[in-house]
Symmetry: C2
Subunit: 482 residues, 2 copies
């Protein structure tokens, strides 16, 4: 039975339609800061509503601070705050070995974050709309049709040769010339990082990490019974060379782990000169470095940043990565280029999960071979850059005074320092009640630092729902400042 | 340029054709023991060769002991030795905690075993001819077409609900009534076993294992820094209840691992009464049991053997399995039903490889849902039973006097005890030179036992090449007895 609306309901409905239309135009960048909104008459015609309804909607948008009226002229998209938000200060942790004790805290934090309907500001995954669905499905069907025996058979470590060849082929971009036999395929970067760490250190050993750093790295260190030594970082240039050198002089550090290219959570990029300086120090002491280059392909500048491996004359660097942020998280295809640790890493790979599934390997190899990856990457980088910029602007506008933000040069995560006294765990809990996920800062530290920090992710297309989520987050944060 | 054969070459070629034809008919069971060979005239007509050539070929086959002449009657396939080969004796290891030190010995043993062209008696994989290629490819294409977003997205632990439902649906056959939420999907059984062990024990802890047992279990124990306590087994009924009870009284054992249904390497099946008795003892001491049920679906009798889980009133059993021996090794889809250890196993799964690849999960779920699995299993069980029987007969005929064999009631591996003094590592090395792979017995023990044992696998269809491989293996073993 068709529903009959009362006059009032009808009015409310039409009026919301106007608001939605404007929000969509903003989200799609059809309307930018300073642009004039469509005239009352034009909008009224376009949506087939009365001029009074449009007027009322525009006035409401003005009340929300999205729109301003200019006398004798009309309604305009209000200018955003021009001041670039301040950066968080460089970090200064004590470089002492610490046993990590997350237990099951982290998994419980994320237990509700992946539920459909939750605004995904807390989950560093690419939205499926951004993934190369068509090309990948075509590659998958081709593999299924032409290579049925290989899809069913074990693809023994080091993994599919064709895939390793495609990865090696792209190693020049990472600043290094490697062949297929320099790579081992893994079940995602998680496995690559875990077996790399096991190849170079033992339970009880001290591992230097950036502070803040990706919590999964801390979880792996915890799981392996190792200790973490937190090293100072700069919000722009990442790992601090002097602090690392000092820590290496005072603590018996067995390995260094770094997310050099677009640190998770800060988005910092270690400049090439610093990468080289760090490796010079490590080479003298013959200490291995494990790098997680999972965001390296997602640079916003013209050229891809080099990996540590580019400056590695001694085979001390183990570079780990995966296609989870660029092609498809569900494929679980990662890799490691372990330098002089090739043999122990290969053995560990065989031991922990024997082979990696064949179909995902063959399909990604086919997709890379097709040449579609580079075109896809160009689109993806643009999307992430725009989404991240939208997120930064929205946070700068909506969050309490005194909030500081990083300015990532790649990837899609943003590190937000809230005013002192705001507990990010409270914000996380309050936000989840409103179906918004955020990642509290403490899990990026081995010692419970960053209590007033959160990580926000821009992996999903920017839309009204995301914008609304950020506004509400800002209100929740504001409420916690009092 | 067509090659012109000399008269002698031509004769040799034709004559080999006859020998090949007879061997093929034997391999395909067209000719069985006691059957008359085609008459000289018939074979001569069929292959278009002279009667003299056929005669010469038949005489050669007689010389090889494959054929016998019966006066006035013709050539017959010679009867095989009627005596059932003896079983290996029950094992009697000392039940003391031992640190395992394989290092990279095992991976180097297998490094040449998977090379194409090698006769695969050493690798416990199903041949691709036996796998449900058509049905699986159909399922894969269906998933690719209808569920593109899911194929690309993370399928977070505990894994795809549809797959868990299909596995749960089949749990009645394993003697137990479980639901989808009792299962966690893993990257193969290897990962399931490794995280199960990590959930119930810590480095330094003593773990009871069958002697002999699957070497991968020993490698996992080694990798986790735990100790193995070898327990006596019977070649038919597996783990000895009294020996286990005694070991539990004298050693502080933290967990038991068992391949109850068709032990690898012996093929032994622990009777249900023994399973129940073992669990009664473990329940009193609240000690968990991890079972590897990877061969359970491959029973030769009418009904599937129960799992330990069927007798587990207290949630102490962690049942692990995979579809690597039945559907496709390359899919790397396994599972664990961890009883009361669900939460810690789930956390470990998230930690070691986060999700398992989505496509293999979705495809196997689709294949199971289609109902093709049960029909496929019936064919597969018949094939494995026949292949294993052919292998047993061939070994019984070709191997040196004093060789003992197990009589597996399921699975596809055979445990061969060579005469005392024959070193299986030598046999392994000699065989590999002739492109035949075997698995030496010592790696099935934590303490270097079973030096004069080998494991042979019947995962590939029985053909001339396999038969020839076994004959040559027997000759090599014979040479090592002197």
């Amino acid at each position: 039975m068709p529903q009959i609306l009362t006059r009032n309901q009808q009015h409310g409905f039409l009026y919301e339609q106007v608001v939605a239309q404007v929000n969509q135009m903003i989200a799609r960048n059809t309307l930018c800061v300073g642009d004039r909104l469509p005239s009352l008459r034009k909008m009224s015609k376009q949506l087939n509503v009365s001029i009074a309804t449009v007027m009322q909607a525009y006035v409401q948008l003005e009340g929300q601070g999205l729109v301003e009226t200019r006398p004798q002229s009309g309604f305009y998209i209000k200018s955003r705050p021009v001041a670039e938000p301040s950066l968080p200060k460089p970090t200064r942790p004590l470089p002492l070995p610490r046993r990590i004790q997350f237990g099951d805290d982290i998994s419980s934090l994320f237990s509700l974050a992946n539920v459909p309907g939750v605004i995904p500001l807390g989950v560093a995954n690419p939205a499926h709309e951004l993934l190369p669905s068509k090309g990948l499905t075509r590659a998958l069907k081709k593999v299924a049709s032409l290579r049925p025996v290989e899809t069913m058979s074990y693809c023994y470590p080091p993994g599919d040769f064709g895939l390793r060849r495609q990865i090696a082929y792209r190693s020049m971009e990472r600043g290094v010339n490697l062949g297929p036999d320099d790579f081992i395929i893994t079940t995602g970067a998680t496995e690559a990082l875990s077996i790399s760490l096991q190849a170079v250190a033992r339970p009880g050993d001290a591992i230097a990490v950036e502070s803040p750093t990706y919590f999964c790295l801390l979880q792996i260190i915890e799981h392996l019974g190792m200790m973490a030594v937190e090293i100072s970082t700069d919000p722009d240039s990442g790992l601090c060379v002097d602090s690392l050198a000092q820590a290496l002089d005072t603590v018996d550090i067995k390995a260094v782990i770094s997310v050099a290219n677009f640190n998770n959570p800060t988005g910092a990029l270690i400049p090439d000169t610093n990468k080289k300086a760090i490796l010079d120090i490590l080479a003298k002491k013959q200490i291995p470095l494990i790098e997680d280059d999972i965001f390296g392909d997602l640079h916003f500048s013209q050229t891809r940043p080099h990996t540590f491996k580019a400056f590695d004359a001694e085979g001390l660097v183990l570079t780990c990565s995966s296609f989870s942020k660029t092609i498809a998280p569900g494929y679980r295809v990662g890799w490691v280029s372990p330098g002089r640790y090739f043999e122990p890493v290969l053995q560990l790979k065989q031991l922990v999960s024997s082979a990696t599934a064949s179909i995902p390997q063959l399909t990604i190899a086919e997709f890379l071979r097709s040449g579609l990856y580079e075109r896809h990457l160009m689109r993806l980088r643009r999307a992430y850059r725009e989404q991240l910029e939208q997120l930064r602007l929205a946070v700068a506008e909506s969050f309490p005074k005194g909030t500081r933000l990083t300015r990532p040069q790649g990837g899609f995560v943003l590190w937000v320092q809230l005013p002192r006294g705001v507990d990010a765990m409270d914000l996380h809990a309050d936000a989840l009640k409103q179906h918004i996920s955020v990642t509290p800062g403490t899990i990026f530290s081995a010692t419970g630092k960053y209590r007033n920090f959160i990580r926000l992710c821009a992996g999903s297309p920017w839309d009204e729902k995301m914008a609304d989520g950020v506004v509400r987050l800002g209100q929740l944060a504001q409420a916690l400042t009092s």
